[in-house]
Subunit: 424 residues, 2 copies
């Protein structure tokens, strides 16, 4: 790999230049680069794993938690999974091969919207090194140049992966500056990146609430903010109890530290006496802590061996990111909707019900990126929705909402073909 | 009309409340309100025109230019035109009546994107009172609440029109706070509006470059910036000369003070000796001032009676908003594209050519909101493109580009219908 610089002005100018070249390349050229990335992840496995060992050992010495160390870790199998993901993206249709809203105007002008890349995308992310590959390959496939700024814990792994991607990009005849990696982990560089609106068209933070807040408040260019998911599931009076237990259990337990994990269960008072003890029994086995409102406590209070405590005001609207959930009893869907409006983050909300009208009303009235009936909130995911993968999950209403996949990384331009038309 | 307040916190809260109600209303209810607005523009004509007389007289006393006075003026005919525009918007399909990207996932989940309003839209605009009606009706039709802040020159007219719209909205059974009007013309209120990101989801500036720049730099919520159009037309070596004269003439002269008016003509050196004298003759009749580069001067210099002066560096990339254009001779399309990339504002660019490959290359490589072949730049317009009307023309690449009509004032949410699915 050619020297990676940490001169942000140079990085910005290089990114802009590369993005202009990228926008002229065919889909097959870009796919060739992606397949090369996947091949090299196998061919250069030793190099990547050695770099990762440096990060992992440093993390252990620094006393990182087991969960953080696990997120940092790369193995042969994990590299294979990452490579398979890259091949899947390469195999997807070219998001730029689309003209839409085409029309012939009364004066004979033929107008339509042609999909184009956004330009240069900046990504600021935390510890997981697979994000380097995920974001870089989604950006390349959608014709965007990308400037990556990974977390310091994964520095050696990210540096090695970014180098591998740049080499693969160059080998496919593309400008290697299509993918740039900021090689300094100096935190003040983030502040500077957020001011580079002339060079960066969109900034994507991938990390905790603190990073997302910082980007939302400091970025001078558009940002995809999201990531913070305070996810509710409402158990309607006419829910199938077993289904509601399975869905809520899955939404909380399958991966508690991600943004689409469930945080609050709203239970209709009519079904609560049947439902809550079933859920609590299930969750006692899975070590889920239940922060219950007064009425839920009064239903569950008698039972032994449950992990139940009283909810405080802070539990409503909290993203737990752990095996904890808040439980509240409501007397109507109105009350559930009111709670969601007031405490939700607009990320993911679900209802469990066999009542047709209740399901439709929930879909109509809940204003979140993803609204589900009889399914786990964990499905708010680009891969699950068939988008290939995602660079983030947006709770913004502008541009794109929910998972940000290939299409969401594009803009469009109107093209108009005339034969000499002038306007009256 | 009920009292219009200038307490921005109250306005913000009212807007949010109204937007929640609006999002549940049917398309026919909203259309009823719009038709009522059109009817009332006739029924309350005297009231509106009297208010307008106050503004017009005050403007005259203040010494406003004729063009500004003309923009301020309302007449019976102009009110009829405005009302016809409102009826046309009412007759358009409901932009919210759409689910798209629908799919059945392998696990049986049925997912799709349902179009939803953005929420509350803020509009800050300058003197033309018809903008009050245009923006309010487009926002209503798309299910958005709107907070209007018009310019002080048109205050009485805007106040009367906003009142008429609020009354019509209420008469149709909708929350009248769907349309709010800031009744103070205190300039510091604009600064406060731009900080109200909890209440305003999108801010739209409609006015000069200074307003647009202020909004772009101060707004804490997403903003549609644009409006500033440095529009180029490239006359290729294989252009039809007569067509090229007609298109360039129309692009400059039909309405010189709007954003899609032509600013710079780039002429291929092979066609310049034929083309430029023809254009200059036409423009001498229309009093268009030509700021020419050295080579263009050397072609035109001999001719008498032409309005030709030497271009300075400041002419490139300048939005003239007057009967002035910059003229530059280029030796290749590469040079034209380079000039457009460096000096354009990404608004509207056109090529005139009979060469198929040149046309396609121009469409491919120019990165502007609207790119035209053999047509006037003046066609970058929501009405012309069949969007009904527009609240603005965006040069942003995020969210929407080009004319912002009904669909561009919406977002979407994913709806997912399951039968108990959980994630592995």
């Amino acid at each position: 790999m050619k020297t990676i610089t940490d001169d942000l002005d140079l990085i910005g100018a290089n990114g802009r230049k590369a993005s202009r070249k990228l926008s002229k390349l065919s889909g097959s050229t870009k796919d060739r680069a992606l397949i090369r990335v996947a091949d090299e992840l196998k061919a250069r496995e030793k190099e990547i794993l050695s770099a990762n060992v440096l990060d992992y050992d440093a993390g252990r010495r620094k006393g990182l938690q087991d969960s953080s160390l696990d997120r940092l870790l790369l193995t042969t199998e994990r590299l294979e999974t990452i490579a398979a993901g890259v091949r899947r993206i390469a195999a997807m249709p070219d998001p730029l091969a689309e003209t839409f809203d085409a029309r012939m105007l009364p004066n004979g002008l033929r107008a339509g919207k042609r999909r184009v890349p956004l330009g240069v995308i900046g990504a600021i992310y935390e510890s997981r090194p697979n994000i380097t590959v995920d974001i870089a390959t989604l950006c390349l496939k959608s014709g965007n140049a990308v400037i990556l700024r990974g977390g310091r814990e994964a520095f050696n792994s990210n540096y090695a992966l970014a180098g591998l991607i740049r080499d693969s990009v160059a080998a496919a005849g593309m400008p290697e500056d299509a993918v740039q990696f900021v090689s300094s982990t100096d935190r003040s560089l983030v502040g500077k990146l957020l001011k580079m609106k002339d060079f960066i068209d969109l900034i994507i933070p991938r990390g905790g609430a603190e990073l997302v807040r910082r980007v939302a408040s400091e970025a001078t260019m558009p940002a995809i903010t999201g990531g913070v998911g305070v996810c509710h599931t409402y158990i309607d009076s006419r829910a199938d109890v077993e289904m509601a237990v399975a869905i809520v259990h899955n939404a909380k337990v399958s991966r508690p530290y991600v943004c689409n994990a469930l945080d609050t269960v709203l239970v209709h008072s009519k079904i609560a006496p049947t439902y809550l003890p079933r859920l609590a029994t299930e969750w006692a086995k899975a070590d889920v802590e239940m922060h219950c409102d007064r009425r839920a406590i009064s239903i569950l209070g008698q039972s032994k061996g449950l992990n139940v405590t009283s909810a405080t005001d802070e539990d409503w609207g909290k993203e737990f990111l752990s095996l904890t959930a808040a439980i509240k009893i409501v007397d109507s869907m109105d009350e559930a909707l009111y709670h969601i409006t007031n405490y939700g983050s607009g990320h993911t909300e679900a209802i469990v019900t066999e009542d047709y009208s209740a399901a439709e009303r929930f879909l109509d009235e809940v204003d979140s990126g993803v609204v589900l009936v009889n399914a786990s909130t964990r499905f708010n995911d680009g891969g699950q929705f068939g988008l290939g993968a995602e660079v983030a999950i947006s709770t913004n209403k502008m541009h794109a909402r929910g998972p940000i996949g290939l299409k969401e990384l594009t803009s469009y331009k109107w093209t108009v073909r005339g034969t000499g038309q002038v306007r009256d």
